[in-house]
Subunit: 342 residues, 2 copies
Amino acid sequence: MPEPPRSAGPDDTRVTLVQVAKLAGVSPTTVSHVLSGKRWVAESTQETVREVIRQLGYRPNNVARSLRTRRSKMIAVVVPDITNTFYAVLTRGLADAVDVAGYGTYVCNTDGIPEREDSFLADVVDRGVDGVVMAAGNVTGDVGAGPGGLGVPAVRIGSASDDDPHVDLVAPDDEVGSHAAVRHLVDRGSRRIAIIEGPHATGSGRDDGYRRALTESGIPVDPALMVRGDWTRSGGQKAMHTLMALDERPDAVFCANDLTAIGAIDAAHELGLTVPGDVAIVGFDDVDAATIVNPPLTTVRNPAYETGYTAGELLLSRITGSYAGEGRIVVLPCPLVVRSSA
Amino acid sequence: MPEPPRSAGPDDTRVTLVQVAKLAGVSPTTVSHVLSGKRWVAESTQETVREVIRQLGYRPNNVARSLRTRRSKMIAVVVPDITNTFYAVLTRGLADAVDVAGYGTYVCNTDGIPEREDSFLADVVDRGVDGVVMAAGNVTGDVGAGPGGLGVPAVRIGSASDDDPHVDLVAPDDEVGSHAAVRHLVDRGSRRIAIIEGPHATGSGRDDGYRRALTESGIPVDPALMVRGDWTRSGGQKAMHTLMALDERPDAVFCANDLTAIGAIDAAHELGLTVPGDVAIVGFDDVDAATIVNPPLTTVRNPAYETGYTAGELLLSRITGSYAGEGRIVVLPCPLVVRSSA
DNA sequence: ACCCGCATGCAAATCGTTTGGCATACTGCG
DNA sequence: CGCAGTATGCCAAACGATTTGCATGCGGGT
């Protein structure tokens, strides 16, 4: 059985629908219809056409199709950095969600630079993507379908702070997750519980959960126990050192992300402190490294995959038009996973 | 100063070049030329046109452009799983390399399933990408420009084993890297040096480097010290246990990747062995976790970013036509990074 | 015989650009 | 005045599909 050639003609000319039509002795219209099934074509004709398609190795040109139908079957995700596991996993969830509907995923790395965000946003709509999910940090808000918006369906990832009524949002339940983490610390018997937050932490869900758990438990919120990190390992390490230099030092610290927590563990080891004996530590995110660090990190799982996946579903529902209402907000639970560090 | 509207008309109709031309009182040809600079247009006309473009907020439709020019300014990378840090970093390097030339990056996750590889490959060429980099495991070899090939420039990532003369290849220098690692072990004083390889290790560069370093040092290659893992942490752990159950147990083990090495460390701890005191361990890849595990892992750096970046450069050189010869092979050095585990 | 309806297939317009070839106007030179 | 030469810009044909409306042939009911 001879291999069907991938391309006919000299070598670089791809087979077109018109050529198929000609060879099959039908019109382009008919070929199109047997391909799309949008109109009825006699069984015998279909046979003929399909056979010719096979012989010629015809593959439809998606660019032309997109031009006509105004759908590219392609979505874009703009993230700070795909290298960051959280975004990689999110992207994977998104890709899995839209793949089943035949959509491809186009990735943009902004490094958190607003100009790059904007230019990527412009770029992807120029490319005619059917939807965008914005997972980059500072969304300036001009995403969306409203006047001044992108003109394509969009979903934002992030904290539920500013809500654009035109854009769907999926966010982790930071508040409840943090609350559970700190609650766990209290239940263990800790009383002086510190927090290492992000750079602009006030008002964040993780901050709120920390406060609520404390006050619920009758423990006063002590500003001296609230320090700032920068989401990095070394930042966590430094913050931990200042915390441990306090007169009355904490017996537990909740870190607003895992990298920070790992840095805190580093610092504890440097000071000859045992974890969780001398000081308990819990993180947030549940990155891979959480199981590798010593002791294994008790942390709150940030559901990256599910976040990407539901973002994909929301996007799809808008693209297909099965939903067209106001912006939806779905917040995903962040379960506590207890290991050894607390 | 009034904001230029993102879209004119009712709300969903984008401005086209023809509308610009009409309003500017010139032909579409002229507008196209001021945009592309492909032909000379009088300065005054350019002014007018540009002004209209600004007022209307015109953005060229890239789909239409692609159809006409047969270039999508888009490349695809097919990887087993973007969630795997190695591929995420590789993808980032690739994206950075092609971004400067205006190319977008489309990511496909195959999970190593050959059918998915094939269908993605077909999908991306149907989508009209300008190039493909195959980083998925078993490349079946029908990539490339030759007869039966894809019809688009391609670059493969992987071991330099099978060489398709039509496709560029970029690969890490496994052999030299492994050699350096094992050499390091010898220099430390180890004599019984084991290896935990991948599932199908024979003939791989990492295997070769191990053997060469040993024989160079006058140490016989002992088949009993060569066991197989499956690239995973638990696989490494299991392999390490069988190694340590040997009558004459090794005093060092070289693991063919970091995850395996981390599993080996787990096993050592379980057996009450100190690392590197009782047994030295070195890995391969230098993943993030290598600095987090205890003790920090001595390993060989697998240059993921550089791999992606040079793949991008090779691809670009073919896309632009600045290179059109036979398949090039570039192998990237894998430097040893010494930490504490060996 | 007439008309209606069904099944089938085609012609042509359209999506929004790019581009090769040509037209026009003007300048300067013999 | 004629003409080469340049400067500028337009026409119309692509690119490769989808889609609307129409044409044709045919069977059956009355």
